[in-house]
Amino acid sequence: MADTKVAIIAANGSLFDAYKVFNVATAAAASDAEVGIFFTFEGLNLIHKEGHKNLPIPEGKEHFKEGFEKTNVPSIEELVGIAQELGIKLIACQMTMDVMGLEKDEFVDGIEVGGAASYIEYAKDANISLTF
């Protein structure tokens, strides 16, 4: 998989969305693929400095909380750290940041900021593209 490229769009901000994004992304990176995630709209929560530590469980699904604890699933904070350690490119959407009035320093360290064109440029030769 060393020559495989994975492009992911993260557009939603619940805890479930975060797991979908980071599990696939870290598994791909651990398999030697090049991985980039473009965070847009609610997806920005997943890399927000405070937000990503306290992501909401979707309404009516609160009972899953226990399952997460019991199965010893890594925290999102931990997964973000692993993602960065594995060299996954984290790109925050400039337009959404402007709409929401967010600055780059409100996000976890090491992210990049870019527009839709940056994502398209990155994803144009991706072997796998996913949207969550």
Binding site: M1, A2, T4, N23, T26, A27, A30, S31, D32, A33, T71, N72, V73, P74, I82, L86
Partner: protein, 190 residues
């Protein structure tokens, strides 16, 4: 099954994708050709470790279940083994070996893979001396025997066959390509 690995990684109690992430980190420090044993309780880890090995080019040997614990065995890829060049002149293909096994003469088979590779499937009656131990252990072999050296792809067995010839063994054949393509009977360690 009692297996020997060079390293052990404890990934028990961890959920997906952590067993894979930890294995990736651990294998980085492992010497090429060595075997790592990964202990996990994540039921999905068997399929995942297998797929991960496939995509990263490492060799998945197999999994042993002990109670709730899954022990996965992976051998780190070794570039030396992908070389096509063989130096030991006396070679025999797998069909040739099979007809010799089915024939009347007594032959000896020396399997020079790692013990964990051998444990998950070898030709019945084959002796296991890993290539790395041959220098110290070659005297366990009888000089008058017709020795058939096998590994996974024919590279390690080529080196082993050369070594045995240097030590004065006259009847040494390198079996090509090796266990990777072997269709005949195998047995596993119990």
């Amino acid at each position: 099954m009692n297996l020997v690995a060079n390293e052990t990684l404890d990934a028990k109690g961890l959920a997906c994708p952590m067993p894979i992430v930890k294995t990736k980190k651990a294998i980085k420090n492992l010497e090429p050709g060595h075997v790592i044993e990964v202990h996990a309780t994540d039921k999905g880890s068997t399929a995942d470790i297998k797929a991960w090995s496939e995509s990263t080019g490492h060799q998945y040997l197999g999994t042993v279940e002990e109670g709730d614990v899954l022990k996965h065995y992976i051998r780190k890829a070794s570039e030396a083994e992908t070389s096509e060049e063989k130096k030991h002149g006396d070679v025999l293909d797998l069909d040739g070996l099979r007809s010799k096994i089915d024939g009347d003469e007594t032959i000896s088979i020396l399997d020079v893979r790692e013990p964990a590779e051998y444990a998950f499937g070898h030709i019945p009656g084959a002796i296991n001396i890993p290539l790395g131990e041959l220098e110290e252990r070659f005297e366990e072999l009888n000089k008058d025997d017709d020795i058939h050296v096998i590994c996974r792809t024919g590279s390690r067995s080529d080196l082993a066959a050369q070594k045995l010839s240097e030590k004065g063994y006259q009847n040494v054949k390198n079996i090509v390509p090796g266990m990777k393509e072997w269709q005949g009977p195998t047995e596993t360690n119990n």
